[in-house]
């Protein structure tokens, strides 16, 4: 088990709308043979120069091609646990229903509760339980996609495992990572977890309806986010009160390939 974040190699479960299938055999892929050559026998040195995430990136590229072929906007939603991602997603789906075909992939270590909340809106959802794993990877997404009707010409939201560390490094084939920070957290989250805020194109500052009751300094949080990532877009909103949701929905429409 990982001593940093507690993740391990437990069996990954994917629960879609269809009966639970046995995981398919991994799609065969070939690792790049990056100029691998054995030097002289006497030296017995094998040069590899291979990126550790190369395999993940190959699967991510496959996913990206598939999303493109189907004219889908695929987004990877990341945050710490409890930032309100699922509530935000439910409100977003309710606002977009009837305008776009929609689908959701939910990532959590355990339980199917989030997928059930999504399904209650009428949108199809596949739940990936990562076991001890602390993030989704591109191969899990590749395995989950056949379990759901693809939203052709629509939007696919991938809600990653609540964790501001590990999901930053794993490309799922998404168009963009969207990081959700809630005002009940600290302003300094972007500095404490810079990799995630650097990897994201958009930051949603959620639960802004609670600001009157908190000492959270919005300007400071945004300054820190831009210090880590000068190009990051920021939208202040509240999934509960609905303020700022229009800006988020407009951003989604702008990014949509159609």
């Amino acid at each position: 088990m990982c001593m940093t974040c507690g993740c391990g190699s437990d069996e990954v479960l994917i629960r879609g709308r269809k009966p639970l299938n046995k995981p398919k055999a991994p799609v065969s892929f070939r690792l790049h043979r990056v100029e691998a050559k054995v030097a002289e026998d006497t030296q017995r040195i094998v040069k590899l120069e291979q990126d550790i995430l190369h395999k993940n990136d190959l699967h991510a590229q496959g996913n990206r091609e598939l999303f493109k072929q189907h004219g889908m906007l695929a987004l990877n939603l990341v945050s710490s646990p409890g930032s309100g991602k699922t509530t935000l997603l439910v409100r977003t789906l309710q606002a977009l229903q009837g305008r776009y075909p929609l689908a959701v992939i939910e990532g959590d270590q355990q339980t199917e509760q989030d997928a059930d909340r999504i399904r209650a809106t009428g949108v199809s959802a596949v739940q990936i339980n990562t076991g001890k794993g602390c993030h989704l990877d591109a191969q899990m997404i590749e395995r989950a996609l056949p379990e759901m009707p693809l939203p052709d010409g629509g939007m696919l939201f991938i809600e990653n495992v609540g964790n501001l560390v590990c999901p930053a490094g794993f490309d799922l084939g998404e168009f963009a990572k969207v990081v959700v920070l809630s005002v009940t957290e600290g302003e300094d989250k972007p500095l404490k977890y810079p990799d995630m805020f650097r990897a994201a194109e958009l930051m949603l500052l959620n639960k802004c309806d609670l600001l009157p009751y908190l000492t959270f300094d919005v300007e400071l949080a945004e300054t820190y986010a831009r210090r880590v990532n000068p190009d990051i877009r920021i939208i202040r909103l509240s999934a509960v009160s609905g303020e700022g949701m229009d800006a988020w929905l407009s951003w989604l429409e702008e990014q949509h390939p159609g």
């Binding site: 990982c2 017995r44 040195i45 490094g169 810079p194 880590v228």
Partner: protein, 113 residues
């Protein structure tokens, strides 16, 4: 970052290389881990030995090539070593440095039998 799954990726890369290159045991593994790559080196060492159990690299020595981060200032074009990706330019104080190096995670080479 997820050192265990990264260590498992390292194992797969090594096992594939063993098939391609026809070696049966690895004595030393050189990993390049940039200081800005969000890999904790001690966690990687711990996970590496666990992930290599039962593989051709079981008992292999792990050598980590620790590369410093370098950033390029978009305003004044000054390039310098940096501790964090969000550091300010040491010359003009601007933020938003472009990473030049130091975020790599790479299996560099293996000493094999």
């Amino acid at each position: 970052m997820h050192e265990m799954s990264l260590a498992q990726n390292v194992r797969e890369i090594i096992e594939q290389a063993a098939l391609d290159q026809g070696f049966t045991r690895v004595k030393t593994v050189w990993l390049e881990i940039g200081r800005l790559s969000c890999v904790e080196q001690e966690a990687m060492r711990f996970c590496f030995s666990a992930a290599m159990q039962g593989s051709v690299a079981e008992d292999a020595r792990l050598e980590i090539i620790d590369t410093p981060g370098r950033g390029l200032c978009p305003k004044c074009s000054h390039e310098a070593e940096i501790e964090n990706a969000y550091d300010a330019c040491s010359q003009c104080g601007s933020y938003g440095l472009q990473l030049v190096s130091g975020d790599a995670m790479r299996v560099k080479e293996l000493e094999v039998v």
